[in-house]
Amino acid sequence: MSTQHTKAAKRFLHNADKAKWHDATFWSVRAKRDTMAMSLEEWEELRETASRIKKHTITHMDKYLEMFANNAEKNGTIVHWAKDADEFNDIVLKILRDHNVRKMVKSKSMLTEECEMNPYLEKHGIEVVETDLGERILQLMESKPSHIVMPAIHITQEEVGQLFEEKLDSEKDNYDPTYLTYCARMSLRNEFIESQAGMTGANFGIAETGEVVVCTNEGNADMSVAIPKLHIAAIGLEKVIPDYQSLSIFQRLLARSATGQPTTTYTSHFGKARPGAEMHIILVDNGRSSIIADSEHWETLKCMRCGACMNTCPVYRRSGGYSYTYFIPGPIGINLGMLRDKYKYTDNVSACSLCCSCDNVCPVKVNLSEQIYLWRQNLDSLGKADPMKKTMSRGMKTLFGHPALYNMALKFAPIANHAPRPALYNSLNAWGKGREMPKFAKESFQTMWKKGKIK
């Protein structure tokens, strides 16, 4: 009955101290988010409005995309459209080759992870340098993010220190986070200056003005495009919103939900290239236009990638980002993975206790747990239902459908309370792993009722 997720989670939990730290760290981020939410009387109104703006924009996406592209072109930006990951990667490579780019700095973009752009460009001889500190650490380690906002959260300062000793020539045994951050700062300064191109993702595209808006704390998106003469912005179709007034709502929700800050340090509006520079926007579909037609799951497109659902998720906090088989973990990752490939990423749908906490923190009200539930209901039709659970379900159906049998079973159930441990806690009983079984009551409610013990 073990899924890929449960197996990986078991490995994660093997280091109990680290697992405990992981859980507590994310819970503190969730607590900070709550403090922020409660400091604004209009918080729930903001969430509801944000959800409705997204619903409106997604169901008028053709109109807003056209408006966005037209206004961007009026600003002198070159707009490209990519059907899928391959087309996106090809467009990026072509732009870079046309400009003789050998090295490109970039800020964080989940879309480029989705399209696996870095390995593609590297295969074609272009060096890509991640400039978000967490992403840079992972790149130097040849590893992947375990969270979409705090990508290197699972790595200790000692591990970073040892990595920097080897790669950035930092002092031996100096694991001070401030020192290590400055080492990365110095090294990245050279990269910004040496690169011929800078790439950013996009938190929002503003239809009315044709601008790409990027939110960062480090200022690395701005640094990436303030020195090189070429800016490429990668944006998923669903990121386009109508105007500044809509943006004011999302801007107020984003950082508060993501990290419990009142705002990110930088909210940068890229409308035009710098004098003498060039700006390109690549609009990427890669399955998004089909999701609109999915009546059960289209609202996933409302997501603005804040990560709040991961921070609050009891399963994510206790199993870590690498336990999930899709590159985006947590509740939103379970759903995005299923939309990407419902046969390949089914292992993740069980990584949810249906506690619904994610639904209650999502700033744009994506019905995350409801969607996970719907995916589970469809597992059998995908041929992915667990055979053991299916057998048990059939057994339960027989049991609950035959009162005499049920009453008999109930009468004898307390015997299990006195059964020797190995009879109950063995490899056949998944519920006995890592937890204690409940005790059966000596008498059932029905028997007690009949005896008049309950008034």
Partner: protein, 193 residues
């Protein structure tokens, strides 16, 4: 059919139901009895420093006093006479090594310490590449919240603008908060009349 038309027509075919745009103007963002006081407090929370200039006081001497060890100042503001680097003249990479960059903010936001910086210089790198950043803003231009701020913004000819709230920061190593990730290590806001 172009790729653009191809994608747009697929979207049109796939939309099942249409939802109306909500009335955003109904939202009343948070209000403060004293926006300047709130702005000062939140700026400190996000790691910034705030100085109130006395009318008639020379901004240059305020900055010199704030950063006594700084040698290289960069600005294109005519009133900043201590600047030896000018972002209107230099190339972006030549601004590297600037100790203090001095720029003007247009709108301050009391709820989160954000200051709207429209690009008013050839190389906006000065806002990010400088080790420390000084932002000058008039107290008259501080508003309550982001709704009020965005209703005032109109993009200028450079087509770039940025809200900045405090110094560049990261917690990517062991969740320890460090100021000065890739951009300014410290920010001082000078509030003028």
């Amino acid at each position: 059919m172009s790729r653009k038309e191809d994608i747009l027509s697929r979207i049109r075919e796939n939309i099942r139901k249409s939802y109306d745009m909500p009335d955003i103007s109904r939202i009343k963002g948070i209000q403060y009895p004293d926006v300047i006081k709130q702005f000062e407090e939140i700026s400190k929370t996000v790691g910034g420093k705030v100085v109130k200039a006395v009318p008639g006081e020379d901004i240059n001497s305020i900055i010199k006093e704030l950063y006594p060890d700084a040698k290289i100042f960069a600005s294109n503001l005519p009133e900043i006479t201590i600047a030896s680097k000018n972002p209107d003249i230099l190339e972006a990479h030549e601004l590297n090594g600037t100790d203090v960059g001095i720029i003007k903010g247009q709108i301050g936001v009391a709820e989160n310490g954000c200051i709207w910086i429209p690009q008013t210089m050839k190389e906006r790198a000065v806002c990010f590449i400088s080790e420390y950043l000084v932002i000058i803003i008039s107290g008259k231009n501080i508003v309550n919240n982001m709704h009020e701020a965005y209703s005032r913004i109109k993009m200028n000819g450079y087509g770039y603008g940025c809200f900045i709230s405090g110094p560049s920061k990261t917690a990517d190593i062991a969740q320890a908060l460090v100021m000065g990730a890739q951009a300014a290590r410290g920010v001082t806001v000078i509030i003028t009349e």
